[in-house]
């Protein structure tokens, strides 16, 4: 991102661009713009913000993700493995009388079962988060955008990607400029 981005429209005519990015000063302006872009029919778009904005998920229709389901499955797997481990060891593999308790001392197995459930569910959450976000991703075209370092500070960006069927360099740029954007620039690949 230290590289200055392809400045203006002139050079971009030749090289295929990643998309157009607009910079906003407030969350309000960004949410309004995202909503307008959605209404206009753009689908390949993403916003970049320094903190989570709940209204954006609504504006960009990002509602459901599969993470809770993955975590549930991970937790159930962990719990089952935890219980089976104890059952296998104490009943089948190494049966031994401890304090006169039954070989299958189920009341005492809940603790480890519980801990394994949480462990697997927690690790699934983190791996699922990284997987669904496609991280780690050291390079991404959006980092080429001018002043994009401010996306982790105090600026709010909306990017319409060139893959969008409605994407037309001129029109899209005009559209973005009409949205109260502080600045609209092109993002090189």
């Amino acid at each position: 991102m230290s590289e200055p981005s392809a400045s203006g429209h002139a050079t971009a005519e030749s090289a295929p661009a990643y998309g157009l990015i607009a910079e906003f000063q407030t969350p309000n302006a960004l949410v309004k713009a995202a909503r307008a872009a959605r209404e206009k029919g753009y689908r390949k778009l993403d916003a970049y913000t320094p903190f989570p904005i709940e209204e954006l998920t609504d504006a960009l229709h990002l509602h459901h993700n599969r993470l809770p389901l993955l975590v549930l499955l991970g937790g159930l797997t962990g719990g089952a493995l935890g219980y089976l481990l104890q059952y296998f060891v104490t009943v089948i593999y190494y049966p031994i009388n401890v304090g006169g308790r039954p070989l299958h001392s189920w009341p005492e197995y809940f603790v480890i079962t519980f801990e394994c459930t949480i462990l697997f569910a927690g690790l699934t959450t983190v791996l699922g988060l990284l997987g669904l976000c496609g991280l780690p991703m050291p390079y991404h075209p959006v980092f080429n955008a001018k002043r994009f370092a401010l996306a982790s500070r105090d600026r709010f960006f909306l990017c319409i990607e060139s893959e969008d069927p409605l994407f037309e360099r001129q029109k899209t740029a005009q559209f973005l400029e009409s949205l109260d954007a502080k600045e609209v620039s092109e993002v090189a690949h």
Partner: protein, 462 residues
């Protein structure tokens, strides 16, 4: 690079959890500049130096321990659980407040947590690291610690899954893992901020690698928020389970004074009590040294004081019930155990803990005391001592005088008991000061959400 941003504060926060006048960029700069600066305050060198010195004590004590064995501690029959287990329970309890702040308060939608969760979580990690030392050091042959885990071995034996000591292995290692990933996930957006702010190339590469290419995409934030809530939902029962399992170490044994059914919630309350005391002990000096009073406000200290008061009262409830059931049960061993605690050789410890844990914290009822940082700091220190004494009295007094009078004995701590205990305080301080120097001690992105202009207007949202 930052242009002036003139955003008017139209809607001041009602609860004073952030001072007025902050902007997104001033929050970023204030928190990040603690890390990204060439100047390190003398306070940091003082704290870090103290930590290193005590860490040296730790190194000497444990080296001697490894060479000579746990006999250098005061452990003699019948008291085979002395300082080591006391310290284990104490440290891990301190860790609980960090998880409580980051997970439970997140689920309860308590915004004030946003400015204290980061360093509280770091405190959790380091406290668990200190706690985790003790069961291993206590093993006698600590290099065989991996025997605690079930694995297919050639000895043909397996851990006893009916023992709470094995539950501890699972509970504490799960707790350490989940706390670490929760903490790291919370750091990712801030690492990206540090990356984008870094002036020097090496720092940028390091923070860049750690941030893993985080770019603040709305798609990512949406998954990220789900993941945070899920981790909080998992960490909440986990943190309760950890001290519950620790309490099972005692209750599952039938030793009088240990075998009490309400130990699980009572231990959890005590853990949160000491943990919030530690949060205050860390927060009060930090905020004044680094000038963070605008982010960690008096309201935060007040709230922490209130949580301390509430958990302290639960602990008081436990003492009352313990004494009452000791008598009511008509069980001579239970009654004797309580009697010994109050009048026996450990009575000075017992009554000091009552003074520290029950009587002194009643001052927290007064708003004036909660709003005077120096007094709050003092009472937190008192609570930390009280909770340590409580663990000590529960563990040692019950073992010293159990069923058979002929086998009674008294525990005398040696200098090496103290050496290892103070040594872990050194480990904690060292890690903590490294943390505040290298990573943002307040969650930058979460504090940004506290600003009035971070909220989207209702008309826009609809």
């Amino acid at each position: 690079m930052a242009e002036e941003q003139n955003v008017v504060m139209e809607r001041p926060e009602p609860h004073e959890i952030i001072a007025p006048g902050y902007t997104f960029s001033s929050i970023t700069d204030q928190i990040a500049s603690v890390v990204q600066t060439k100047r390190t305050p003398p306070f940091w060198f003082l704290g870090f130096g103290l930590g290193l010195a005590l860490l040296g004590v730790f190194a000497i004590s444990t080296t001697l321990l490894f060479i000579l064995g746990p006999g250098i501690w005061g452990l003699r029959t019948p008291v085979m659980w002395g300082f080591a287990i006391t310290n284990f329970v104490w440290w891990i309890g301190i860790g609980h407040a960090g998880t409580l702040i980051s997970a439970i308060l997140l689920l309860l939608n308590q915004k004030w947590r946003n400015s204290i969760n980061r360093f509280a979580e770091a405190m959790t990690l380091f406290a668990v690291a200190c706690a985790g030392m003790f069961p291993i050091l206590h093993l006698g042959r600590p290099w065989l610690a991996f025997w605690l885990f079930p694995y297919p071995d050639t000895m043909g034996i397996e851990p006893n899954f009916r023992s709470p000591l094995v539950w501890d292995v699972f509970a504490v290692s799960t707790y350490a893992t989940i706390s670490a990933v929760f903490w790291f996930v919370g750091l990712i957006p801030d690492l990206a901020t540090l990356r984008d702010r870094a002036g020097n190339k090496i720092a940028r590469v390091i923070y860049g690698l750690l941030a893993m290419g985080w770019r603040g995409s709305a798609k990512h934030w949406s998954v990220y928020e789900t993941a945070s809530l899920l981790l909080a939902g998992l960490a909440t029962p986990l943190v309760l389970s950890v001290h519950t399992v620790v309490s099972f170490d005692f209750t599952v044994a039938i030793v009088p004074g240990w075998h009490s059914t309400f130990f699980p919630p009572y231990f959890v309350a005590g853990a949160i009590y000491s943990g919030f005391a530690m949060v205050l002990v860390l927060a009060i000096p930090l905020r004044s040294v680094y000038g963070l009073e605008g982010l960690i406000t008096d309201k935060h200290l007040d709230n922490c004081g209130k949580v301390m008061l509430a958990t302290g009262l639960i602990v008081a409830y436990a003492y009352i019930l313990e004494a009452f059931t000791g008598w009511y049960s008509g069980n001579i061993f239970e009654a004797a155990a309580i009697h010994h605690r109050m009048t026996g050789p450990y009575m000075s410890s017992y009554w000091s803990l009552v003074a520290c844990n029950i009587i002194a914290p009643q001052l927290l009822w007064f708003k004036r005391i909660r709003n005077t940082p120096a007094l709050l700091f003092l009472s937190s220190m008192v609570v930390l001592c009280g909770m340590w004494l409580e663990r000590f009295v529960i563990i040692v007094s019950s073992l010293a005088q159990d069923f058979v009078t002929s086998s009674w004995g008294i525990f005398h701590a040696t200098r090496w008991d103290w050496g290892v205990f103070l040594g872990t305080i050194g480990l904690f301080l060292t890690l903590f000061f490294l943390f505040i120097r290298g990573l943002p001690m307040i969650s930058i992105f979460e504090v940004r959400t506290l600003l009035p202009h971070a909220k989207v207007d209702k008309e826009v949202a609809e």
